[in-house]
Structures are given as C-alpha cells and as structure tokens.
C-alpha cells in the first residue's frame, strides 16, 4: 500500500524512499577487477521489518556499466539479516527495447550450505513469499513485461527460462519492491527452510 508516496508496505517490510539523488564514486560489481572507479547516480531506500531489520539499499546508475541494486548499510537487525549484506544484489540489464530488465531470483535457504543463496524462482514461489500475487503487484508499480527472459526479451542463452520483468529506466519503486520481496522478505520468512 502506497502511503504519501514516501513508503510502501510489502509483506513484513516497509520500504521507505529517501528523497534525492547523489553522485557516488565507486566500482560497479560487474567491473570490480582492474578498472578505475567511476561516478554513479545513487538513489537510496530503507527497508525496515517487523523483526528489526534496518537496511539501506542503493540503486546505482553507472556512467559506463549496467545499473545495479546493492545493499549499502545494515543499520540493525538479527544475525540472519547479515545474509543480506554480502549477497543479494541485483544487476539490471538493458533490454532490447531500451528498458531495464530485472532478473527475479530469490534468496533461498540452503540446508546443505547453512546459508541463503540466490536461486531461480517460480511465480508461485514469489506469490508465496509475498502472500499474494507478485506479478499483479509489480504491474501495479509500473512493470511493463513480466515472464521468462526468453518471453520478455528474446533471450536464448542459459538464462532464458529465468523469471524477470522489465521496467522503465529509473522506476525505483518497482525495483525496490522487487528487491524487498525477493531478498529481505525471503530471508525474514526463512524461505527454503521448510523444504530442508
């Protein structure tokens, strides 16, 4: 539910959009090795939850790399929320029609590893994490296409069956909520543990 356009409640999370865009110097995740730092336009949002999570996340729009979503600072939370610090970023892809393609993988608990890993998800799984229709939520927030990467962007590689959506470049609301559901909410609900 959108409240005053500043925050959105989704599942056990509250996503608060922090106004403004700042210039940030750094290296894109996809170009960590050897390249020089570059400037990004950074917009941030905060995810808080019913179980004390307080996470600042950024949408980085790089000068010379694809945009990405990365956690910036874990200000508070439980031990398990540390899982959100080191993994779970989203590398966005520029689609054939010049939109932003958001791969929809989820953080899932691995019993053998004892921690969360990013894994492909079905639409049913996304619905179960959210508690209702994930696709409808995303379309309501401005998603343009929703489906397999093959269906929405004609991909033919080994990721073609991966679930994804496209949004207008810069649609922070849709991207932040997708991040909140597939990362924060998944960890909060211990997604994957019941099957372990």
């Amino acid at each position: 539910m959108l409240t005053e356009n500043l925050s959105i409640s989704v599942g056990r999370c509250e996503v608060e959009f922090i106004p403004g865009t700042v210039a940030a110097l750094g290296k894109p995740t996809s170009q960590r090795k050897g390249t020089a730092e570059q400037v990004s336009q950074l917009r941030t949002f905060r995810i808080t939850s019913s179980d004390e999570l307080n996470l600042i996340v950024g949408l980085y729009v790089w000068e010379a790399a694809a945009p990405e979503v990365r956690p910036i600072d874990l200000l508070g939370g439980l031990q398990k929320h540390n899982e959100l610090k080191g993994r779970g970023g989203i590398s966005l892809i520029i689609s054939r029609d010049e939109k932003w393609l958001v791969p929809l993988r989820v953080l899932k608990y691995s019993a053998t590893k004892g921690y969360f890993t990013l894994q492909g998800a079905s639409e049913d799984e996304l619905d179960s994490i959210l508690g209702h229709g994930f696709r409808e939520l995303m379309m309501g927030l401005g998603a343009i296409k929703f489906g397999s990467r093959e269906a929405i962007d004609e991909e033919s590689n080994n990721k073609r069956n991966q679930l994804a959506m496209t949004v207008e470049p810069g649609n922070l609301e849709a991207i932040a909520i997708a991040y909140a559901v597939t990362r924060a909410q998944a960890v909060i609900l211990d997604f994957g543990l019941d099957a372990a």
């Binding site: 056990r12 004390e52 031990q79 398990k80 004892g114 909060i188």
Partner: protein, 366 residues
C-alpha cells in the same frame, strides 16, 4: 424475543454477549415449547420429574431450572431421555448438532471458547440445526448471524458509520466474563507456545544455534544453567524456531524469538512454572475429536492422529486409554491440554500434546 443482535466486527465483548443472548433466547423458547407439550399431557412439574428420575438412577443433576440450554440438550440426547419424544423432527443429525453445541456451550461457560467470529459462526450453525427442525424462532436469528458473519469474514460487510437506532450490545453474565477474563489474562501474560508474544521484548538475549544445538550468550554456552533440562529446552525451542537465532528471555524464563518475522513465544528457559496438573488452560481449539479406543479421530476430516502427527503419539494414546472409553469426545486447548468434553463441571486435563504430536495445523505454531 428481543431484536436480533448481530456483530459488526470481531469485537470480543459483543461476540460473548451475542452467544449468551442466543443461548438464553433458545433456552427460553425450548422451555416454553416443552412447558406447552408437557402441559397438554398434564405434566406441569415435568422438570422436577426429570430431576427425580436422574437422581434416582444416580446421574449427576445440577440444573436449577429448565431454561438452561445445556440441560435441554443433555436431557434430549440421553439414551433414556425423558423429553426426546416431544421434540419434533429429531434424528441423528439433530443429536450430532446438539452434542456439538453442548460441547461449545460448556467451553463458553468455562471461559474456554475463543470469542471470535469463527466460534460464533459455528455456534450459530449449530443453533440453526437444532432450532429450525423444531420450528423455533431463534433459528431466524441463527441464520441472520451466519449471513452477517460470512459477510464480515469475506470482507463484503460494510460497517455503518452511524447506527440509527443504536444497537445495544447484549449483556454478558458476570460469571462468563469472569472466567473469560481469567483465561485472557493468562493468555496475555504467557501465550501458548508458537503464539504471538505479548508485551515488551525481554532484555536478556541468547542465541540458539541450530548446528551445534546449543545456547549462547555473548559467545559462551549457557546450557549449563539448564542442567538436565538442556535437551528438552533446545528441542522445544527448535520445534517452534527451527532456523535458530536470537532468543530473548524474560526473568521468569518465558522466551521469545522472531519466527518468520513475527515475535512468538518459543519456550521456557528452565522449568515451566508449575500450575495445577489437572487445570485446563487456554481456549479450546474449535474442532471435534473422538477417541477410538486406540487412536484419536478428527471428526471433520476422518483422519487418525497416529497417521497425521509428525512425532510419535504412543504415549499420548496410552494415557488417553486409561481415562477414556471408545467414542468419548476429546477436546484440546491452544496450550495443548487434552481433556474429555465433559457435560458438567470443570474439565480436567488428561495429558498434553504439542504441535508435532497433534494434527498438523490445529495447534499454534504449526
């Protein structure tokens, strides 16, 4: 009969009041009906006659007047009932509904009926079943209740902004509110395992490690504090908090953790405070069970406990076998206290189950 009182939401006081009012209205109607029937037969002292008969054969009889729904049902469903022949359209369905209603009214009078819309819907359905076949007016109230509750539950009922004329909330007898408040107080203080935690987060923070099956405080194991209770404590905590992680412990040992984002009661650090070993605590789970002689059957689904539970229930069945006979009704509260659905008096706990030794999804935390 007074105007139909219907709920507008899930207000507990209103629900308790409506249950009480419907029960009284039904009892008055049934009683009037029986007065007329017996009157036509010249048996105006019929209630006294029933009392003498029951006493003469050694049956317990505590009813003070015939305007008591539990008396009417209890007498109607006896094998040697003194009134069944006067109740029209009586059949197996009537008897089954009456027994179900009697159980719930007993729960209600002992503060064990959870005052929510589901309970009210069940009671309204049962009143409809026994009153409509006898052509009593209270059946109209029961049907109106069913319609209103279903609308509230499916979100199609719009609560009026202003009620004109204002609808009075039915009075609740003080004995009912007293036992209800007692149960609620206990639930609020220390809810059943797996239920939402009530109150402030405790100060002491421990960590339950799923891999080592141990408890730590600032990195050091504290399980020595538990002594012989270590294994039992950790097993219980992991039952309700399988992922492990931070657990906060109150000075009395009550322990809380965030389970899937919600603060829940997951167990006790140390012994659970002693209570009366026979006391039945909490609200009755609104489901019907029957002891088969060697198992427990959930009457709605027909499932048997031995093939439905996660853990072995051999001990529970053994204990039940010592206290129950075949076809006895069994009730369980949200604390897992199992008892015979007695018709009179205060229920006594027979044994206790937890979410993994009962039907999946029936107890909190499952």
């Amino acid at each position: 009969m007074r105007a139909f009182a219907l709920p507008f939401d899930d207000n507990e006081v209103t629900i308790l009041g409506i249950i009480s009012a419907v029960e009284r209205a039904a009892a008055a109607e049934f009683c009037e009906f029986l007065n007329n029937q017996f009157g036509a037969l010249g048996q105006k002292e019929w209630f006294e006659d029933v009392r003498h008969y029951r006493k003469s054969i050694g049956d317990p009889f505590t009813y003070k007047n015939p305007e008591d729904m539990r008396f009417i049902i209890n007498e109607a469903v006896q094998d040697d009932s003194q009134i069944w022949h006067l109740i029209p359209n009586m059949n197996n369905a009537w008897t089954t509904a009456a027994i179900g209603l009697r159980t719930r009214l007993n729960n209600f009078h002992h503060g064990q009926l959870k005052p929510d819309l589901q309970s009210l819907l069940q009671i309204a359905t049962l009143f409809d079943s026994i009153a409509s076949s006898s052509g009593l007016g209270v059946a109209d109230w029961a049907r109106a209740l069913k319609t209103r509750i279903k609308k509230i539950l499916d979100g199609t009922f719009e609560k009026p902004v202003e009620l004109n004329p204002p609808v009075a909330i039915p009075d609740v007898p003080s004995d009912v509110t007293d036992v209800y408040n007692e149960t609620k107080k206990e639930l609020d203080k220390r809810p059943p395992l797996g239920s939402k935690w009530q109150g402030e987060k405790p100060q002491r923070k421990l960590t339950l490690d799923r891999a080592t099956e141990d408890l730590y405080e600032d990195g050091l194991s504290v399980s020595i504090e538990l002594g012989e209770l270590k294994e039992q404590t950790i097993t219980t905590w992991l039952r309700y908090f399988p992922r492990g992680g931070e657990v906060w412990v109150d000075p009395d040992g009550a322990s809380m953790a965030y389970v899937k984002g919600i603060a829940r009661m997951v167990g006790w650090f140390g012994p659970e405070p002693d209570g009366d070993e026979h006391e039945v605590r909490g609200f009755v789970v609104p489901r019907d069970y029957e002891f088969t002689g060697s198992d427990v059957r959930h009457l709605e689904s027909g499932k048997l406990l031995t093939s439905s539970s996660v853990d072995s229930v051999r001990e529970i069945i053994e204990v039940l076998s010592k206290h129950l006979v075949q076809n006895d009704r069994v009730s369980i509260t949200d604390y897992g206290d199992i008892f015979n659905s007695v018709t009179e008096g205060v229920a006594k706990k027979i044994t206790r189950a937890h979410k993994d030794t009962w039907f999946g999804g029936h107890l909190p935390g499952s």
